[in-house]
C-alpha cells in the first residue's frame, strides 16, 4: 500500500512501490489528466509537480514520493494565471499534451517570473506537442507572466 499526497489530499493506492507514479495516478487513483505518451521521459505529457518541481511521472517510482506534495493540473486553481492564459490565447488543439506542458510552464515561471522569448524557448524545448500549438504556448506563457507580475508576483 502506498500513500500519496495529491493536490492536498492523502490518497491510498494498492500498488507496488516501484510502480511508476504515472500509472498509480491514472489507474489506481483515477487522475487521468496525467497523460501517458512515451513512458521514457521524452515528451513531458505526464509531467506533475513534485514539491513544486516539474517531474516526469513515468520515470518516478510512486514509492519514492510518498512524503512529497504532488500537484496535477486539477490542483491549480481555475483562475491560475497559466490556466487563464491558456484559455485566453486558445492554446489547445487536441489538448492531450497540455496539462503536462502547463505544469512544466508553472515550474518554469516560478523560477523565471519575467522570462525573455529565448528563455521560454529554452525552457519549453523538451516537451512535445504534435498538434503544433507552439506559437500559442509562447504567447500564453508571456501572458501568464504578465498576469502574475500584476498580481504582485504570486501565482
Amino acid at each position: 500500500m502506498i500513500v500519496l499526497n495529491v493536490n492536498g489530499t492523502k490518497m491510498q493506492a494498492d500498488a507496488d512501490p516501484d510502480t511508476p507514479l504515472l500509472w498509480v495516478l491514472r489507474d489506481n487513483l483515477g487522475i487521468t489528466s496525467v497523460k501517458y505518451a512515451c513512458g521514457i521521459a521524452e515528451c513531458g505529457m505526464c509531467t506533475v509537480l513534485i514539491d513544486g518541481e516539474a517531474r516526469r511521472s513515468c520515470i518516478v517510482n510512486a514509492g519514492d514520493v510518498q512524503g512529497s506534495e504532488i500537484t496535477t493540473i486539477e490542483g491549480l486553481p481555475e483562475n491560475h494565471p497559466v490556466k487563464v492564459a491558456w484559455i485566453e490565447k486558445q492554446v489547445p488543439q487536441c489538448g492531450y499534451c497540455q496539462p503536462g506542458i502547463m505544469l512544466h510552464a508553472v515550474d518554469f515561471l516560478s523560477r523565471k517570473p519575467n522570462p525573455t522569448g529565448e528563455q521560454i524557448n529554452d525552457a519549453m524545448d523538451n516537451v512535445i506537442c504534435r498538434c503544433g500549438t507552439h506559437p500559442r504556448i509562447r504567447k500564453a506563457i508571456q501572458m501568464a507572466a504578465e498576469m502574475t507580475a500584476k498580481q504582485g508576483g504570486k501565482s
Binding site: A15, D16, T19, P20, W23, R26, D27, N28, G30, T32, S33, K35, Y36, A37, C38, G39, I40, E42, C43, M45, T72, I73, E74, E78, K83, W86, I87, Q90, V91, P92, Q93, C94, G95, Y96, C97, Q98, P99, M102, I120, N121, D122, M124, D125, N126, V127, I128, C129, R130, C131, G132, T133, H134, P135, R136, I137, R138
Partner: protein, 714 residues
Amino acid sequence: MNTHITRRDFLKKTSLVIAAAALPGGVNLFHVSPALAGADAPFKPHAFLEIAADDTITVWVGQTNLGQGTHTGIPMIIADELDAAWEKVQVKMALAAEPFKSPVWHMQATGGSSSIRHRWDLLRKVGAAARQMLVEAAAEQWGIPAEKCVTKDGSVTHPDGRSLTFGQLTEAAGKRPVPEDPPLKDSKEYRIIGTQRKRLDIPDKVMGKTVYGIDFTVPGMCIAVVARPPRYGASPQSYDEKAAMAVKGVIKVLPLENRIAVCAETTYAAMKGRNALNIKWSEGSQPNLNDDTLDALFKEHLGKPGAVAKNDGDVKKALEQAAQTMEQSYKLPYLSHAQAEPINCTAHVEKERCRIWTPTQGQTDTQLTASKLTGLPIEKVEVMTLPAGGGFGLRGEQDPVEDSVLLSKTLNRPVKVMWTREDDFANDRFRPASQCRIKAGLDKDGRVMAWSHTVAAPSVMSRLMPEYVKDGIDGDAVSGITDMPYDLPNLLVNYVMVNSPVTVGWWRSVGYSVNAFAVESFMDELAHAAKKDPVQFRLDHMEKGGRPYNVLSLLAEKAGWGTPVPEGRARGVAATSCFESFAAHMAEVSVSKEGKITVHKMVCAIDCGTAVYPDAIRAQAEAGVVMGLSVAFHEKVRFENGGVKTANYDDYPVLTLSDVPETEVHIAQNNLKAGGVGEPVFPSVAPAVANAVFKATGVRLRELPFKRELLIRG
C-alpha cells in the same frame, strides 16, 4: 458530389432518427448542464439539434473531436442560421448513426478536411429549418404572418416589440412539420459565422477534465496490452504464459491469430505481463527488409514505366521541341503519425449489443468491424466517439477495435486495449514513402511546355478501398501532380505501385503531403532556369484571377514579396490546391556556414471559401507550419531486420519550440462554399523552405528530411 441527396432528403431522414444519447452508466462527459438534464420535452427537429424549454441549445456532432475546432465550427454554422444566442449553445458528441454520415462518402468518418466542407449545405439547413419552425409557431400564436416576425439572439419578435424565446416556443414548434427546403441566409446576414469565438472544448482541456479514449473506464473493465509481431509477417513460436500470469494483476493470457494479449486489472500490470511472456517470434516474411533494401526497391520501381494516370497533350513531342529541358528526382520517407495519445479502444460485447468507446476517425468502419466479429446487426453496435489526442488519419484504422471486441467476447466483460508508444511506432500505418522523377521542357520564353512525372510509391487505397484502384492507379498516390494548380499544355503522369510488407495509411493531406514537395520544388527549379521570379513564374502558369492565382497574389502582397530581405536571409514560396481550398506559403530563412537552417518567419495565405471559424483556421495554419517544418527537418521512420526500427519519440524527433518561427496567417475573404482547412495548410510548407534555402545557398534540397551536410560551406 451527391449534395442533391442532402437537399432533398436530409430533413425527412434525420427527423426520424433520435441518434444522440449521453454515455451510459451515468457518465456524462460532454458538458451536460443541470438545467438541460431537468428540462422536459426538448424540441428536437433532427439528429443534430435540440432546444430545451430553458433556451439551452444542444448541437449533436458526429465528427471526431481531434482538436481541429469543428466541435465549435459546426455549432457556429447551425447557430447562425438558427439566429441563436451563442452563449446558450453547447456541443455534444453523438453516438454513431446514419444522419451523421457524410453526404458525399455515405459513411461517418473524420478525415480529408471533410467535417464542414461535406456538410456546408446540410448544417445551414439544420439551423434554418428549426428557425422556420420556431417562427411559424410564434406567428401562429400571435395570429400574424410568419414574414412579420424577426429572429435574433434566440428570440422571435413581433412587430409591436413583444417577443418569445426559442425555449418558450419549443412545445409548439415541435408539433410543426420539418420544412424540406428552408431559405438560407445571405452571407451578409451572418452574425456568428466568420466571427471570433472561444472554442467550446478548450476550458475542459485546460482544467484536465476532458476524458480521452485512453482515460475512459467502465465498471468491470480490464485492460489488455497485446504483443504484436515485431517483424512483418512474424508469428509467435513460443511464449511463457506462466511467467505472465505470475505478474500481480494479470488476469488472462489470450493468443489471437498472430499476436498475444495480456489482460490485467491495471495498464502497468498488463505491460509487465507482456514483457514476461518472453515470446520467440518467427522470422517473418522479409527478414532482410531494412532502409537500404526499401530504398533499392523504390529505385528499381522508378525505372519501370508504370500506369498512365494522366496524359494531356503530347509530352514526348513537346519535350523534343523544347528550348531547354530539365530532369530531377525527389525522395520522401515513410512518416509516422506520432499522435500524442496512443491507440486505444474499449469494447463491451453483450448478448444483444456491443458497445464501443474509442477516439475513432472512422465510426462506420468501427460499426462494421464490430458487427462482423460479433455477428450482431450494425444497429446493435453502439459507437461512442471519445475525444482524440491527435489522429492525423491513423484513427480510421480498426486494429484496436478488432482486439477489444475479440477479447471482450472471450472474457465476457468490458476490455480496453491499450497500445504503448512502442506499439504505436511499430504498428503504425505509415505515410507512404515516395521517389519520383520529373522531366520538363521550357519554351524560348521560359514557359513550361511539357511536364513528365513518374512516381514510385506504395498505395494506401489498395488496402483500404481497393475498388477505387483501377488499372494500377491509386488516385491518391498521384494527387497534387494530376491536379497541380498550373495550366500545362502537355502533362504526363505515370504511377508505379510499390508493394512491400510496410503497411501504409492515411496521413495529413494524404498524397499532397508527398507530391507537393516535388512539384513545388521543381517549379522553383524551372523558374530559376527560366530566369523568372518564382512567384511571377507560378502566376504565369495559373489562370489569371482564379483562386490559386489570387491566393498566391495575396501571399506575395502580405509577405512583402519583392521587398528587401533582411541581411543574410532569403525567401522562398510554394503553393498547393487541395480539399477544395487553396494555400500558399512563404518561408524566410538563413543558413549558417555549418549548414544549420534557421526559419525566421513563415507566412501562410489560405482561401478556404467562407471562413467559418477564423481563429480555428489560424490555429490550423500555425500548426500546419509546425508539422511541415517537423517533416522538413526531422521525420523519417527507419526499418531493420524485417520490421520497424523506430521505437519511440527519442528516435523520431518532432519539432520543438525553439525551432518554431514567427508565423503569419492571412485568410482570403469570400462567401463561397466552405473548403477544407487542416490538410491544405500543410503541403506547401516544406517546399517553401527548400526553395528559400536554394535562394540563400544555391543548393537544392531534393530529399526529406533535409540533409544538413549538403549545406556545409567553407
